[in-house]
């Protein structure tokens, strides 16, 4: 009861304290929940510590599938090994009297070892032989439910990727925290069965290989053995690499890294984001402590007198010391309660806004206990200094009213305040700079049109009736132009390594049709465009300027490019344009005129007619492909999505910046209360001697403003270095303009002055008589 009374005796500072802690805790809870969720990925796999993905030089994960049996044969410590081929497709079953309904599902081709690598819970069938025979398929519950409802699918025949498969097993859906995602497994044997299968080629680098070794301690030996297999090394060293020809090594990527690697087929998270978040959580915790210390010590002057009287009446210093600590714990627990409520209320919004998962406490109730323990320890740590400070008064002097608190406390508070402002300013500058960079990417002229262009992947059915489809397509009123390609701009992914006239080269290859260059208005600087008669120029190439420059080709038009089973002439050189992400420089690339692989259809829509165009395209699609739904994308959106990772970081940092600003401002208000309290009498004296309200507010604000300016001087170079370092990652980048700093500085200053003025205005306006009476 006594403690309760002393807590509510200082309503303003207690309220601010709880508010500030609740803000800090909400941030910390959100970050800890998210980071712990991301860190929990893949741990459900029983063999988590002994599973690896085969890589080359620690970066390339696609290899020929044929490595798999060779490794199994040669390395004794490999217990399980499987090649993987990720290939999704449409799945359907024939039902009596019903049109078959097909669904697009994700799928992986693998052998049975996969189930020892990624733990899967079988409901029907066995993990020993489910994928033994060709054309076997193991379904997840989700897919099976769609196809069969709740009955056992094992033994049923299924149509998948236009082939018949037999269902050999049913597994539970892979957990949400699995980086490896698939809705079904098909037997790798299916691929091997065919004669001339690409899965048997030493030159087909389209597979991933996962393996399990006997124990983590054998890692080095395994790696050594893998790298000393001649059969593989011969081929490997001949394969091409821009930087290090002839010196390539196998590496093993542990499963614990799977979730933290960029790109690829897995669900990943940028580990830098997590590190930054952990750092930010620590910053929030420190700022919370700083505010706590400031607000609690701000009660010192008021509390010292009652404390001194209690001492005279026989209370021990320790008793009061502990009272303050207990108060701190109570305040912190109240703040935790509020923070948990806030978190519970807002986390779905945060998850949607930041496009993340894992913020909920569901299934992780133990974290409530962790956070409570954390809060208690936190409160103790935060209150030791203020408790010592408040109870350090000289009893006799305090009772007489002559005790003055040491300047040391003031210095520490100013340092802490400055530190908070340094954080705020650095984060603010950082978020503005990131936004500026993202805007720069979005607005950059890449040299190709991206507005009013939509695209979708055509189905095999449409592929079969392409001519008829195209004919109808050109009749559509709002479709200005169309072209087929394998990739859309921004996603050119087919890397070719070739030896041309004895010269080793690597370049990207972009399979296109004869309409592509005109569609995007790509300029030719040498030679000619593809002829409109596709047949005439089939398997010819147009390279970009960069290729000519980098390969030192004097007469590019005389070069014959080596294809898969053909040779084709280079008939033109096109002007360089940013066909890939602006994070990267332009590298050598060629257009390949082909009639294969052209499964992406891009359409140019006349301006302002998007809605009607989309509906006519959809009806056309339905005419040719009634079983599947069309999935239309916008090119500009897809191009902007390339910067999604940076946007995500930006969203995170902005959220945290907002949080630190709130925290800093509540802390500042607390400090303002403290300082104005301490200076109340001085304010009265100054007022009696002619100072106006404005002059008093200015004086009080100045005492804070100088620390903010100081923080700006410290924070700006730190922010500059950090932003500059971040921008180094990108080929095309914005400037770090002076106005970013000015804006961050002024915004901080204005917000701070507002926060301080709320408090100082009240005191400055006070009748000077009251101020003078104040002791």
């Amino acid at each position: 009861m006594k403690i309760y009374r002393s807590i509510i005796k200082y309503p303003v500072s207690t309220a601010l304290n709880i508010l500030s802690l609740a803000i800090a805790f909400t941030g910390i809870i959100t970050i800890v929940q998210y980071v712990s969720y991301e860190k929990s990925f893949d741990k459900h796999n029983i063999n988590y510590s002994t599973v690896y993905q085969l890589q080359i030089d620690g970066k390339e994960s696609t290899v020929p599938a044929v490595y798999s049996p060779v490794l199994r044969k040669n390395v004794a410590d490999i217990v399980d090994i499987t090649p993987l081929w990720f290939a999704g497709g449409y799945i359907s079953i024939q039902k009596q009297d019903e049109k078959p309904k097909s669904y697009y599902i994700s799928n992986v081709y693998a052998n049975d070892d996969i189930f020892n690598i990624f733990t899967c819970n079988f409901i029907y069938g066995s993990d020993k032989d489910a994928l033994k025979k060709a054309n076997s398929i193991v379904l997840t519950e989700r897919v099976s439910k769609k196809l069969f409802g709740n009955i056992n699918p094992v033994g049923k025949t299924i149509k998948f990727r236009n082939q018949e498969y037999t269902c050999t097993g049913l597994i539970e859906d892979l957990p949400e925290t699995s980086s490896f995602k698939t809705e079904s497994f098909t037997s790798f044997e299916t691929l091997l069965e065919k004669e001339n299968s690409f899965a048997k080629l030493w030159s087909e680098w389209s597979f991933r290989i996962f393996l399990r070794i006997s124990s983590p301690e054998r890692y080095n030996e395994v790696l050594k053995s893998i790298n000393s297999i001649d059969e593989i090394n011969k081929v490997l060293h001949k394969s091409l690499d821009r930087e290090s020809d002839g010196d390539r090594h196998f590496t093993l990527q542990p499963m614990s890294n799977l979730h933290f690697l960029e790109g690829g087929m897995y669900q990943t998270v940028n580990p830098v984001v997590l590190d930054v978040l952990i750092l930010l959580a620590i910053i929030l915790a420190i700022m919370g402590i700083v505010n706590f210390i400031n607000l609690l010590t701000s009660q010192a002057v008021q509390r010292s007198k009652s404390f001194a009287i209690k001492r005279i009446l026989g209370a021990s210093r320790y008793r009061l010391f502990f009272q303050i600590i207990i108060e701190a714990i109570i305040i912190s627990l109240v703040a935790l309660g509020i923070a948990l409520l806030l978190h519970g209320y807002f986390y779905p919004t945060i998850e949607t806004k930041l496009d993340i998962k894992g913020l909920s406490f569901e299934g992780r109730q133990q974290w409530y206990i962790y956070f409570t323990l954390f809060t208690i320890v936190y409160a103790i740590v935060a209150s030791i200094y203020p408790a010592k400070y408040i109870t350090s008064v000289d009893v006799a002097q305090t009772v007489k009213g002559t005790y003055r608190f040491s300047g040391a406390g003031k210095k520490i508070r100013n340092i802490l305040l400055t530190m908070q402002f340094v954080f705020t300013i650095v984060l603010l500058i950082g978020s503005i700079a990131i936004e500026k960079q993202i805007a720069f990417w979005h607005n950059y002229n890449t040299g190709i049109e991206k507005e009013n262009i939509v695209y979708f992947t055509i189905s095999s059915e449409i592929g079969k009736h392409k001519e008829a489809f195209n004919k109808e397509l050109s009749k559509l009123k709002n479709v200005v132009d169309y072209t087929y390609s394998w990739f859309i701009p921004g996603g050119v992914g087919m890397g070719w390594g070739r030896v041309i006239n004895g010269q080793q080269i690597t370049l990207y290859t972009w399979p296109v049709d004869e309409r592509f260059l005109d569609f995007f208005n790509i300029q030719i600087v040498e030679g000619r465009k593809f002829s409109s008669n596709q047949k005439a120029d089939l398997n010819s190439f147009i390279v970009n300027e960069k290729a000519v420059e980098e390969f030192n080709w004097n007469k590019p038009l005389e070069i014959k490019m080596i294809g898969f089973d053909f040779e084709g002439p280079i008939i033109g050189v096109c002007k360089d344009f940013n066909y890939s992400s602006l994070k990267e420089k332009i590298v050598p690339m060629q257009f390949w005129l082909t009639d294969t692989r052209l499964n992406t259809l891009m359409l140019k829509i006349s301006e302002g007619n998007m809605t009607s165009a989309l509906s006519s395209i959809t009806s056309l699609w339905q005419k040719f492909e009634p079983k599947q739904t069309i999935d239309i994308h916008f090119l500009d959106e897809s191009l902007n999505d390339q910067y999604g990772k940076e946007e995500k970081i930006a969203n995170f940092i902005e959220a945290i910046t907002l949080w630190t600003i709130l925290l800093t401002l509540t802390g500042l208000m607390g400090l303002a209360i403290f300082v104005t309290q301490q200076r109340t009498k001085e304010i009265g004296i100054r007022r009696a001697n002619g100072a106006s309200v404005g002059e008093i507010i200015m004086m009080l604000n100045y005492s804070f403003v100088k620390w903010i300016l100081f923080a700006f001087i410290i924070g700006s170079p730190i922010a500059y270095i950090a932003v500059d370092k971040w921008l180094e990652n990108f080929a095309y980048k914005t400037h770090i303009s002076w106005w970013i700093f000015a804006f961050a500085g002024i915004l901080t200053l204005v917000l701070s002055i507002l926060a301080v003025s709320i408090q100082t205005f009240r005191v400055a306006r006070k009748n000077p008589v009251e101020s003078l009476r104040y002791e």
């Binding site: 004296i685 100054r686 007022r687 002619g690 100072a691 309200v693 306006r765």
Partner: protein
């Protein structure tokens, strides 16, 4: 110079109304030295605060140099106070963080007087108060008597026409007390009007006349 008629000041808390001053009428001529006496809580300081425009009365009129000032807004009171009124308090009310020089300079700063002129005025008044050698000292390094002399120096530095002193000797021993009273008398002889609240009969005798207050009312006016 000061003409107060039927001045009333009521302090209200949630359920109590206290009449600190009740229909007080006083006239003070220019150049006068008036002391106000009475038991604790009789309204002496309230009266002084109202005369000093630190506070507004609840009712009644107050003319300062023929100008009605009873109901001025805070902003105007500040403006009026500046340069016209100097204050001396019982507890000196010096600012601990400022040295003697800066404390004295304060009213001149708020009057926006030029630095060179300020310097001259502060030095003059320090000389007059015999505290020139203490210019760089801080209040806590001075004796009570010295502190009060600094406070008086601050009160007169802007050359105000009215000096208000609230028990100026209350925190001083008798020797220092007499010194302070002598100083005030000198200032009065130089032309300043002084209103002084005191508990001390001896101090009151320095004044030309004494007004006695009891329970917020004037009970006796006496010429010394």
């Amino acid at each position: 110079m000061i003409k107060i008629e039927n001045l009333t000041k009521v302090f209200r808390t949630e359920d109590i109304e206290t009449y600190a001053l009740n229909s007080v009428t006083i006239n003070i001529e220019k150049g006068e030295f008036v002391s106000v006496m009475g038991p604790s809580g009789c309204g002496k300081s309230t009266l002084l605060n109202i005369i000093g425009l630190l506070d507004n009365p609840t009712e009644g009129s107050y003319f300062f140099n023929q100008k009605e000032v009873a109901n001025l807004r805070e902003k105007d009171r500040t403006k009026f106070r500046k340069g016209n009124i100097g204050f001396v308090f019982q507890s000196f009310n010096l600012i601990d963080e400022l040295n003697v020089y800066d404390n004295i300079e304060l009213p001149l700063v708020y009057l926006k007087i030029k630095a060179s002129e300020r310097k001259k005025k502060v030095e003059d008044v320090m000389l007059r108060m015999k505290i020139g050698h203490r210019a760089k000292h801080f209040p806590q390094q001075l004796s009570g008597g010295q502190q009060q002399r600094v406070a008086i120096a601050r009160a007169v530095v802007a050359n105000p026409s009215l000096i208000l002193a609230d028990e100026p000797t209350g925190n001083l021993d008798s020797k220092n007390g007499i010194e302070v009273m002598n100083l005030l008398s000198e200032l009065n002889q130089d032309g300043a009007t002084i209103v002084m609240v005191t508990h001390s009969e001896r101090d009151a005798n320095f004044a030309h006349r004494t007004i006695n207050l009891f329970d917020g009312q004037v009970v006796l006016k006496r010429t010394n």
